[in-house]
């Protein structure tokens, strides 16, 4: 069985800001990291590999430097790593991202299972997994909290639907996304790091894809457009209190009392 795990590199912190006067984006020099949600997806795949036997491939899309998240995935235990990188992919929204990933997955053969994290911490849309499944024309389940059963034809999972837990049976090929906290992701192994010094990461560009129609990728393939960016608005009626801790705590006490919270 082949499993693909989709992962993404995200900024280390949310330190991007807009300069209010100039409208310029300011991004501090912060390290990037693997999207924390993806660690649960990787762990899910690696646990399935250990129990049932499978080949696990980590797939990412992004600039060449996002290869580092693939290295981390390799040290955690995935068998293969693939990056989709091309300037033509720049500015992709959810639909164009899903389409690009789908083209990459087609290059990789016919995986039985694709596992995604719930969302990323930079885009925060939680939509790419479901759109990817639709582009690939396979079923998907979101919010998976545990895998109950796996045979060569199907998988049974528990999904958290807010007010209820549903046990769903889905035939392969399919995609599911896992919630945060469903397992404890393993740490990258130092041994594997030493062993896998010479690993290769496969890199695909648009030229490698079956569909090379530029209108499907990047900004051009994105039905949504960012019209403008701006700093979050300030609250209109705000007051600032400064003073000693005693003054401040008494003032706060009076305020809460006056508004009947005490």
């Amino acid at each position: 069985m082949e499993i693909i795990v989709c992962i993404k590199q995200v900024p280390g912190t949310n330190s991007v800001e807009v300069d209010e006067k100039t409208g310029v984006l300011k991004r501090e020099n912060v390290a990037s990291k693997i999207n924390p949600y993806d660690l649960y997806a990787l762990e899910t795949a690696l646990a399935l590999k250990e129990e049932f036997g499978a080949k696990v491939t980590a797939l990412t899309m992004g600039p060449p430097q996002s290869k580092t998240v693939l290295e981390e995935a390799i040290w955690m235990g995935v068998d293969d790593a693939v990056i989709l990188t091309d300037r033509q992919f720049a500015g992709a929204d959810v639909l164009a991202t899903a389409y690009t990933l789908a083209q990459g997955i087609k290059k990789l053969g016919n995986p039985s299972l694709i596992i995604c994290g719930k969302q990323t911490t930079d885009g925060d849309t939680a939509q790419v997994g479901a759109e990817l499944a639709e582009v690939l024309d396979i079923p998907h389940v979101n919010n998976v909290i545990s895998v109950r059963e796996l045979t060569d034809k199907k998988i049974v999972v528990d999904a958290d639907m807010e007010t209820q837990i549903e046990r769903q049976e889905i035939h392969f090929p399919c995609l599911f996304s896992v919630d945060k906290g469903v397992n404890i992701p393993r740490l990258p192994s130092y041994k594997r790091k030493k062993e896998y010094k010479a690993f290769t990461i496969t890199s695909y560009t648009l030229a490698d894809f079956e569909d090379r129609n530029l209108e499907k990728y990047g900004l051009k393939g994105s039905p949504t457009q960012v019209e403008r960016i701006f700093a979050p608005e300030k609250s209109a009626d705000s007051e600032m209190w400064e003073g000693s801790a005693i003054e401040l705590s008494e003032r706060l006490y009076k305020q809460l009392k006056q508004e009947k919270f005490i």
């Binding site: 925060d124 639709e134 305020q255």
Partner: protein, 395 residues
């Protein structure tokens, strides 16, 4: 597409552009400037650069927008109980509709929907489209997508709004990809232009930035919004709204997913329902300190909540996390302690009626949304407040 006019590039201009790009997507080597795959198309280099990079508008096929009408709300219901986010979206749809001469529609899918329909008729909707079949009783993403595909093909709606529930977040992307249109997640503000373009505002680029997003070349325009972001639609005593029963074919209810069993979860107190919330952020020095905030919480009947870093450290449960990757709250009072106020956090709490923030850093972003900003050390202020409340009780 961004086009570099190499003639205008010299080492000085290049250096300026390289530093300007917040995504490090501009590189300069051997006298040549290039844009890498890290480009996010923020177009800052076009706006603020020296004219050396230009944006070339790519001819996209425009559609006849007048052929599409109706701001549609997906009614998220389980066993006849409508999720309140759907009623909030109806309220928003009714505000947007007159701006571009649009009708307001609702789509409801399931089994035994009479009660839901009866309820929906009290919100001044123009038409209620109903897909009912016993196989649609429980949410199945493939069958529900086919219902929406049918609805879009027949009705040609301008906009579809989904609540960002687990159902909405599964269904909306599926529908968007099926009809190849845009979908914007977790909008915090909506508006509509006279040309019927939906103005969607949400945090973006993983930073303290808001983005205004439009889907101008395709229809329908899809977006999701969280529970407790918009105001509930007004209840109208007089019933209205034409009920349109839509045909459900056998093909539409065929599903690749089998639901083996459903277990109702026990209802738990959620921070989303709390009237008073005390939220803790990175200013909390150690896990044990949470206890004394618990004391304040019990004194004023508040629920404790937290920011993402607090949850990631494992100090607090993820059910208590507020923000884009957590929950949205709309309490009467919100006290933020030691929280810097990232846009992701703020988008989960900015509709709170009263926000009080305590932070040692007077420039913290949380003060931008706070009604009362207290510049000081919470470790000094909160114990005194607790003592004041205790003392006050004795009197």
């Amino acid at each position: 597409m961004l086009n570099i006019i190499q003639d205008k590039i010299n080492s000085e201009v290049a250096k300026e552009l390289v530093t300007l790009c917040p995504f490090k997507a501009i590189e300069y080597s051997s006298d040549k400037l290039s844009i890498t795959a890290a480009c996010k198309m923020c177009k800052l280099c076009v706006k603020h650069g020296s004219g050396a990079i230009e944006f070339v508008e790519e001819g996209k096929k425009s559609i006849d927008k007048s052929l599409y009408n109706g701001i549609t709300v997906f009614i998220d219901q389980t066993d006849g109980v409508i999720h309140p986010v759907s009623l909030e979206l109806l309220g928003e749809a009714k505000k947007l509709a007159p701006k571009a001469n649009q009708k307001v529609y609702a789509v409801v899918i399931g089994e035994d929907l009479e009660e839901s329909i009866e309820k929906l008729q009290h919100f001044g909707i123009d038409k209620i489209f109903v897909y009912t079949h016993k196989a649609l009783k429980n949410f199945k993403v493939d069958s529900y997508t086919k219902c929406f595909q049918d609805f879009i093909e027949k009705v040609k709606p301008n906009t579809i709004l989904f609540g960002a529930t687990n159902v909405g977040r599964s269904l909306a992307p599926r529908v968007a990809a099926r009809v190849k249109t845009g979908l914007t997640a977790d909008c915090t503000k909506l508006d509509m232009k006279a040309n019927s373009d939906l103005v969607q505002i949400r945090p973006a680029f993983g930073g303290n930035i808001m983005a205004q997003i439009i889907t101008t070349y395709t229809r329908p325009q899809l977006c999701t919004a969280r529970y407790k972001v918009f105001d509930l639609a007004e209840y109208v005593e007089e019933k209205s709204g034409e009920v349109v029963q839509c045909t459900v074919t056998d093909e539409m209810v065929q599903s690749k997913i089998t639901i083996q069993k459903i277990e109702k979860k026990q209802s738990e107190t959620s921070i989303s329902d709390a009237e008073v919330v005390i939220a803790l952020g990175r200013g909390v020095a150690k896990k044990e300190d949470i206890e004394f905030f618990e004391k304040l919480a019990s004194q004023i009947g508040a629920q404790l909540a937290c920011t993402r870093p607090m949850m990631e450290k494992g100090w607090m449960d993820n059910k208590r996390q507020i923000g884009l990757s957590g929950r949205t709250v709309k309490p009467k009072l919100m006290i933020c302690c030691g929280i810097s106020g990232s846009v992701q956090f703020v988008s989960g709490m900015s509709s709170a009626e009263k926000i009080i923030a305590i932070n040692t850093d007077k420039d913290a972003a949380i003060f931008n949304v706070a009604h009362i900003g207290i510049v000081g050390d919470m470790y000094e202020i909160v114990p005194k407040l607790i003592a004041n409340i205790e003392g006050g009780k004795r009197v």
